[in-house]
């Protein structure tokens, strides 16, 4: 389990990194935290010509910021670093809750937020969380910089809007409106495992306890993190009473089409997602009241 040969590049600045990607494009791969890429190299499932290690392109790309209503997470911000950033976790508790379920500290110490997003695993926590907040993805290449939103960024299994010469420079997340309750619920076989199912939700209630705005996404039931828009519509304007929760769970079952594998049948994943949805909304209601 030794990686096949490649040429290692360690650019010292962003322009240098982008030039390398421009030059090698399809034959190159960006190395940030390496916690998904390195195993694939060791298994020789991935064989690449050029590895562009962006870890030394500058400290400014490793320092997250909270600027007014915007949280900026740059390319090299480690998951562990964000998890321990009190300001960010306070501004977006959802992120902290999700990060704690991502693998183990030894992985999060090196793994980056942007890397996880660029990897675009629909069963992963972070893409699901990003699906329920207002987020802007900044994509940089030698050709310039462009931004896309979450719906455009995640395209298919492990496929994003990133072109071969682009890297995910940063993600800007707008803090949810004041009073928004956020909940993340995941079910995994073991600590640190990928989710058999997960739900991320943001919920804003009015004074009477009625949902006025909500976003809900499910992990691992589709080729991208899946926004449950039908469920959102169903619960908006309700007080999330038991009948609504039951109907929302049914709507969830109807709107996901997961795939079975050696770990769980498709039917189980559908039922699990509905169960998690029900529990997520119940938790949101409780948190609002509590």
């Amino acid at each position: 389990m030794k990686p096949a040969p490649f040429t290692y590049h360690v650019p010292r600045s962003l322009p240098e990194a982008l030039d390398l990607l421009a030059e090698h494009g399809d034959d190159a791969k960006v190395l940030a935290g390496g916690q998904s890429l390195m195993p694939m190299l060791n298994f020789r499932l991935a064989q690449i010509e050029h590895l562009v290690d962006i870890n030394r392109i500058g400290a400014e790309h490793a320092t997250p910021r909270v600027d007014g209503a915007t949280i900026t997470i740059p390319a090299l911000a480690r998951q562990r670093q964000i998890e321990r950033n009190a300001e960010i976790v306070a501004a977006l508790p959802l992120l902290g809750a999700a990060l704690h379920q991502v693998a183990h500290p030894q992985i999060r110490n090196r793994g980056t937020i942007c890397g996880s997003l660029a990897h675009a695993d629909p069963a992963a926590e972070l893409p699901t969380v990003l699906s329920v907040v207002d987020a802007t993805f900044t994509l940089a290449s030698a050709r310039g910089v462009r931004t896309v939103d979450v719906a455009e960024f995640f395209q298919f299994y492990f496929t994003t809007a990133l072109e071969p010469d682009e890297l995910l420079l940063q993600v800007d997340i707008r803090k949810p409106a004041p009073g928004t309750v956020t909940v993340f619920r995941e079910f995994a076989t073991r600590r640190g495992d990928f989710a058999l199912g997960a739900i991320a939700a943001t919920c804003r209630f009015d004074a009477s306890g009625t949902v006025v705005d909500t976003r809900i996404a499910a992990a691992g039931v589709s080729a991208t993190p899946l926004r449950l828009t039908a469920v959102e519509q169903l619960v908006t304007g309700t007080d999330l009473n038991p009948e609504v929760l039951a109907a929302a769970a049914d709507a969830t079952s109807a709107s996901v089409e997961p795939t079975g594998d050696i770990h769980a049948s498709a039917d189980y994943r559908r039922r699990l997602t509905a169960t998690l949805l029900r529990r997520t909304l119940a938790a949101a209601k409780e948190e609002h009241h509590g």
Binding site: L37, L41, I107, G111, T112, D121, Y157, F194, A223
Partner: protein, 225 residues
Amino acid sequence: MLIENAFPVAAEPDQVFEFLQDAHNVAACFPGAELLDEVGDDTYLGRVKIKVGPVTATYSGTATIVSRDLATRTAVLRAEGKDSRGAGSANATARMHVEPADEGATVEFATELAVSGKLAQFGRGIMSDVSARMVAQLADAVRDRIQTSTPPPDPDAPTPDPDQTGAPTPSSAPADPGQTEAPQRIRTAAPAPTPTPAALRAGPLIRAVIAGFFRRLVARLRRTS
């Protein structure tokens, strides 16, 4: 794994069938595929090169049209490919049938896909999803090419008499009992002809195989490019 797929094409059934009988056309619609040589007896040497994210693989081998029946507009293609790094093989038996329909024709694909080796060990999880999408992409490409290169069918045009085609009786696809043990069966609806991103077109075959690995890999090791 059996992948079934049906899609409409706004063209004459015979025209569609003729298009699909040409290995060059099929190869052109199959992303990442390349025909290298024609060795006779409806057999072609070819290569499918795939790159999905960091994962790359090249399968090279043969594709043979093992049977074709103009009367029923049915053809069976057998493709056998070997991974260039010795990591396994991918074999497919695809049965293609063109049926007249209101809008022109309906193409039905039934593809029995068997992947062996390293990639197969990692990828069964969501392979079915991705394989289904892969065939859908092939369907998109077929439809695009036929519809852009041919005018819509003339509803008044005479339908050719199947009896006049003189095609031999189709032989059934070679049955591999080992493969038929796999009960997985996927049925996909006719895909919406949404434009597919260029990156996606690049590598459906192996994408199928590796995607599951990715998914589980990140499972524990979540993170990074």
